[in-house]
Symmetry: C2
Subunit: 361 residues, 2 copies
């Protein structure tokens, strides 16, 4: 396994482990992305989104871009959750201006039963990117590796792309639960292997994005999303060279299931903006750290409104020990239309206000 420079800023990792911190660490989902002109320039050089994601040099470049602009407390691997089903042979492409497409979606029993875990060597470009990014970071901040959740991957694998109502994948779930469980079991093993290889390559924290768990009905969520995240987490390495590698799960729209999510084995739970952080903390106690949860559209308002809303989120997290166990983030990925200067206001406000909050001793 590669070795790296010592970490200079471990605030993010400490918060995930519910250890005291001097201030509330902050990073943003999709922080390396289209809202940054320097990202768009690299993306243009790469020729395509997949060309960018599959090139470790360029992926390293865009991963570091937001850190050069903003004093963020973590970096996240630039990649896409659909690399895993692509490596399973489903044939991923991104048409310009549209979402992802799979050439060979899982639409019948034969296709489902032929599904196999990916050969990790076909994902070597991801692990190479992790190692290059971690090296380039030179210990500035921790690097987050990630994966889609088994259910969220299954949504794309069965629908063949995005969906408004997930009617194809849910019809399979209700009509042929045996096939859905087969996909999810395969995905859970693939997710664990994929995350473990990222840890080996240098990832210092992990996140599972369950973007579409909130589309499921109560009951179905537990059986078809949460249970398979739990299974993946159980098989995932949680330390490297004796250093803990904390893991975050995020089910968008999953606020009602918070207590159950908090018990799935993760160190931290991501929350969207519909959840009150103080109430969330009451519901889960000290079982997990919480990550979130500013509405990303606030970044379209002026600096004073951004500062007011950042303060409100920090205060809602509650006291005492306000800065401990909270990682500031948006409740969803940053919009491509966000003015970059709004992020400066946001990051500075998180650091400034959280330093003034009472600390846990």
């Amino acid at each position: 396994m590669p070795t790296f420079s010592p970490l200079k800023n471990d605030t993010f990792l400490r918060a995930l482990l519910r250890q005291p911190t001097e201030y509330t660490p902050v990073w943003l989902m999709r922080q390396a992305g289209r809202y940054l002109p320097e990202y768009r320039a690299t993306r243009a050089r790469a020729g395509s989104f997949l060309g960018l994601a599959k090139n470790p040099e360029l992926a390293t470049e865009v991963t570091l871009q937001p850190l050069d602009r903003y004093p963020l407390d973590a970096a996240i691997l630039f990649s896409d959750i659909l690399t895993v089903p692509d490596a399973m042979g489903l044939g991923l492409s991104f048409a310009e201006g549209e979402g992802p497409r799979f050439a060979r979606p899982l639409r019948d029993e034969q296709a489902v039963l032929a599904l196999r875990e990916p050969d990790l060597s076909s994902l070597q470009y991801v692990f190479d990117a992790v190692t290059q990014i971690r090296t380039a970071l030179d210990g500035r901040v921790p690097l987050i590796g990630f994966s889609g959740s088994p259910w969220t991957l299954a949504c794309y694998m069965v629908e063949g792309g995005g969906s408004d109502d997930f009617r194809t994948v849910k019809a399979m779930l209700y009509s042929r639960p045996d096939l859905m469980h087969h996909i999810l079991k395969t995905n859970a093993a693939a997710v664990a292997a994929y995350l473990n290889a990222q840890v080996d390559a240098g990832a210092q924290a992990l996140m599972i994005f369950d973007t579409w768990g909130g589309a499921l009905a109560d009951g179905a969520y537990q059986r078809f999303s949460l249970d398979y995240m739990r299974a993946a987490i159980r098989q995932t390495k949680r330390e490297r060279d004796g250093v803990p590698v904390p893991l975050i799960v995020f089910t968008k729209g999953g606020g009602l299931w918070l207590e159950e999510i908090a018990g799935c084995g993760a160190d931290a739970v991501g929350l969207d903006w519909t959840v009150n952080l103080g109430k969330a903390r009451e519901r889960v106690g000290q079982q997990v750290a919480l990550q979130g949860n500013l509405d990303p559209t606030i970044l379209f308002a002026g600096p004073q409104q951004i500062r007011d809303e950042v303060r409100a989120v920090l205060q809602s997290y509650g006291q005492p020990g306000a800065a401990s166990g909270h990682v500031f983030n948006l409740g969803h990925g940053i919009s491509q239309f966000t003015p970059p200067e709004a992020v400066t206001t946001l990051v500075d406000a998180v650091h400034e206000f959280s330093r003034a909050l009472p600390k846990q001793l």
Copy 2:
């Protein structure tokens, strides 16, 4: 005010008022719609969606179509929530195969401050449809009138149509809350006047659709959606000729705010499929009836799966008094791709299984 035949089946109204019923009443959001071939035939004769919605004879015809197929326990006015902003002069149109569009969205201070409540005479076609439908129903089942919520109407009025992220309307909310409150205050008064005129015309129950309340952050939801529903409800007639006219509110994605929604003055709260009905009942006690909450995609599965999931929803509502205070519905509008025979299975299963549940004495 017009007079009508006596009601033969008041099960739906009794459930909304938390009175004992012999079985759990059922209706479906968008039950008169594109999944029915007879609807598509009438829609083709009308020439356009708005041509259909603005023609009381044709609106009556499509409102009754699902009742002729299925033993539903309520009818709902065939109309669109955007009739109100259309009557405010925003210029509504529906391009074929696309969503609604406003020619004159509220994009600046001048447009917002010029906004006025609609002249109700420009909505006479809606009230004529209510009277004609109630007459045609001849007391078979109660007729539901409805409106969009002040916030949900504002979303379309500011965005100018549908949206993935509501960034224009939310940017106004955060940047210029004064303008947003002006729109919402105007909308709340318009919603109340619109619902009252529907009651005068013959509506026997009312529903407020807060389709996009769940897009708001905690805190913003209470101030910008719930408070204005409460204001509208306060001004809404709740009886006609001494007979109660129960009112349902439905915030899709609002499960986390259930206790607060239950206190807004409505008789019943609609729930989407992410909410467990039994837990919801524990949270609100006997304060309100609950409506919901089957995932509409279950209708793409086979008859046995539909029956199993209907039974699960009924059982989740809990005991004792299982059939009292529960109106069965989907957690969202029925999909246009639903096979009509799946609805037969659903409606029959609700009636059959709920008759076998323990009754409140």
